[in-house]
Every structure is written in structure tokens, then in C-alpha cells.
């Protein structure tokens, strides 16, 4: 597989990250989808509003580098995001479609409500 990015879903409750679809920059065919979870071919065919006020773009139909950059700019949320473009060897999903989250020490201070009842 050529250089590619992966769209990743955070399964927060379960504590792992799962690959949804791979977008590959193919020298011969432009952007090509692989490892497609149900529905993602359709979702990636929708127009993306990358910047506020910008015209929506159809990432898959763009020239490959512009298309990949648009996907990275658009998919950066808490639940679904795009990785950076990487090689096969550097792919975090080279051993499977799931990556576990890691334990972390987190402190949360108790708060008197700033949102009055």
C-alpha cells in the first residue's frame, strides 16, 4: 500500500481506537479507499466544510495531496479523526484494526458550580 492516512474512531467507553477506513494516495489512481467499515464510502463522498466560510470540498475528487489535507483538516474531532499521512511501515494499524488506549493519572478538582441551578 502506498502512503495513506487512516480515519480513526475513539471508542471512549470501551477504551480503544478502531480504524474506520484507509485513504491511500495511489500514484496511478489518485485517492483510493481501503479497509472500509460500513457506511464510510458514503460519508467520505460528502462535501467537507474545512474552514468557516470556505466553500465545501469533495475531498476524494480533489488532487490527492489536497484531498488528504482536506480530510486531515476536517476530521479532527473527539470521536472521529484522521491520522497524518504515513507509510505502511509506520502505520499504527499494521498489526490489526484496533489500538488500545493507555492508562493515565488524572486529577479533577471538585468545583462549586459556576453554572447555578
Amino acid at each position: 500500500m502506498a502512503e495513506h492516512l487512516d480515519l480513526v474512531k475513539n471508542e471512549w467507553g470501551a477504551g480503544f481506537q478502531v480504524r474506520l477506513v484507509t485513504v491511500e494516495n495511489s500514484p496511478d489512481q489518485g485517492l483510493v479507499l481501503a479497509n472500509i467499515n460500513p457506511g464510510w464510502e458514503d460519508i467520505l463522498s460528502r462535501p467537507l466544510a474545512v474552514g468557516a466560510g470556505d466553500s465545501p470540498v469533495y475531498a476524494i475528487k480533489e488532487p490527492p495531496n489536497e484531498g488528504l489535507n482536506a480530510i486531515i483538516a476536517f476530521y479532527r474531532g473527539d470521536h472521529v479523526f484522521a491520522t497524518s499521512v504515513h507509510s505502511d511501515e509506520g502505520c499504527p494499524f499494521r498489526h490489526g484494526s484496533v489500538v488500545p488506549m493507555r492508562p493515565a493519572d488524572v486529577g479533577l478538582a471538585s468545583r462549586t458550580s459556576a453554572q447555578p441551578a
Binding site: V8, A49, D78, L108
Partner: protein
């Protein structure tokens, strides 16, 4: 706000952390700093520290204000319970404000807007119009419970409900004070159903005394009020 939602707010503001975890992979390979926690009693919450975004404190406030706005209208089912707390993130080690919000247990990413009942999409459109959401075009909503899974067939047969997420870029966020919403697009130009318009009127009557006022700065709050009044005057999107 009804008692149970007030109790949820109080719980989210005070419950101790049982354990936490962080993702290995982050957007664009960048240094994301979102944290998952399980709070005492077993509630899963997502912690979004202010340092994770430009104008991050505003984004944190907006996340909480979005939930409070939904509750003010009586539509608290559309947005996960969200409060502001000070967090000591493992990534930085320095205390900072964060949005702490309940996680939906499982979800699909942005099912087509038309797949939801019209009542839900109307509420989403009105909320987006009021908060001036700038990042809801084909983005930032969930279908709960999940139906599209990495294997054929639904796990459970419940009807999928609409849930709105990621409200940092709303409430006249600097440089992004543009409305962009697939739900507004869906209903644009149509008269608002009478029961929902009534909720908007009731919301405006109570907004000064609501938590929304305590969270938002003066300018975005005044603009929010102006959008309430505009919707009531026009009666349509």
C-alpha cells in the same frame, strides 16, 4: 432546569476520578490532550482541557453553555451533560480548566441528517441557529445507539437518536462567527413548529437567570439573546 439535571451537573462537578486513560493516536499526529475518565459510581466522562485548542478557555465555556442552552429549551436529551472543572492533565501536569462531559456509550458518526425524526432535526437546527454553530456541516453529530458496526446487522433494535457534539466553535467564536449546519440547511426557510417556537419563547424569558448567562461572556450572551429575539420575530429558520 429540572432537578435531575441539576443533580447531574453537581455530580459532574464534584465526583472523584476512579481511573483515567488517554488515546495513543491523535488527530493529524498532533499532541491531543483529551482524557477519558470513569467517575465514582461508574459514569464515563470525556475531559477536554483548555490547552487543547486555540482560545481553549472559550471552547471549554462553549461546551458547557451548549448543554445548558439545550436544557433551557427543555431539550437536554440532545447534548451530553457538560460542566467546567479544573483538571490536572497527565500530559502537562499543570492545572487548567476543562470541559467534563458524559460520554454516549456507543455511536455512529454522522448518519445522514434525514435519517432522524423531523422533531429531532428541528431542535438541532434551532439550537445551531441560536448558538451560531460554525462546524456542523456534515460534522459533529452522532447516531446513538450504533447501527453501523464492523460486522453485519444491528446489535440492538432501538431507534437511533440524534446527539449533538463538539460545541467549542459556537457562540460567536472568534474568527468563526459563521453559521454552518446541515440541520439548518435541512429546514431553512420553513416555519418553526409551534411547540418548538413556544420553547424558544420560554427559553428567552428565562435565559438571564439561567446557567448560560453565568458561563458566557457579555458579548456572546447579548448576541445569543438577539438571535432568540430574531427567531421569535420571524417564526422561521
Amino acid at each position: 432546569m429540572t432537578d435531575h439535571l441539576g443533580l447531574l451537573r453537581q455530580y459532574l462537578e464534584q465526583a472523584p476520578v476512579v481511573y483515567g486513560y488517554v488515546p495513543q493516536l491523535t488527530a493529524g499526529g498532533g499532541h491531543g490532550n483529551k482524557i477519558a475518565v470513569v467517575l465514582e459510581g461508574g459514569v464515563h466522562a470525556l475531559v477536554k482541557p483548555a490547552s487543547g485548542a486555540q482560545d481553549g478557555l472559550l471552547a471549554v465555556q462553549n461546551e458547557a453553555a451548549a448543554w445548558e442552552l439545550a436544557c433551557l429549551l427543555g431539550w437536554g436529551e440532545l447534548v451530553a451533560g457538560t460542566v467546567i472543572r479544573d483538571v490536572l492533565p497527565p500530559q502537562s501536569g499543570a492545572p487548567e480548566p476543562a470541559a467534563v462531559q458524559v460520554m454516549w456509550p456507543g455511536y455512529d458518526w454522522t448518519p445522514a441528517p434525514g435519517s432522524f425524526p423531523e422533531g429531532e432535526t428541528w431542535k438541532a437546527a434551532i439550537l445551531d441557529m441560536l448558538m451560531l454553530h460554525s462546524d456542523r456541516t456534515n460534522n459533529n453529530w452522532l447516531g446513538v445507539p450504533p447501527a453501523q458496526l464492523p460486522f453485519p446487522g444491528p446489535v440492538y433494535g432501538s431507534r437511533q437518536q440524534l446527539k449533538l457534539i463538539d460545541h467549542g466553535f459556537a457562540f460567536d467564536f472568534p474568527g468563526r462567527a459563521n453559521l454552518s449546519s446541515s440541520f439548518v440547511d435541512l429546514h431553512r426557510g420553513n416555519p418553526i413548529p409551534a411547540d418548538l417556537l413556544q420553547a424558544v419563547g420560554a427559553g428567552l424569558a428565562q435565559v438571564e437567570a439561567s446557567p448560560v448567562r453565568a458561563i458566557l461572556d457579555d458579548m456572546p450572551f447579548e448576541r445569543l439573546k438577539a438571535r432568540f429575539e430574531g427567531l421569535l420575530q420571524s417564526g422561521s429558520l
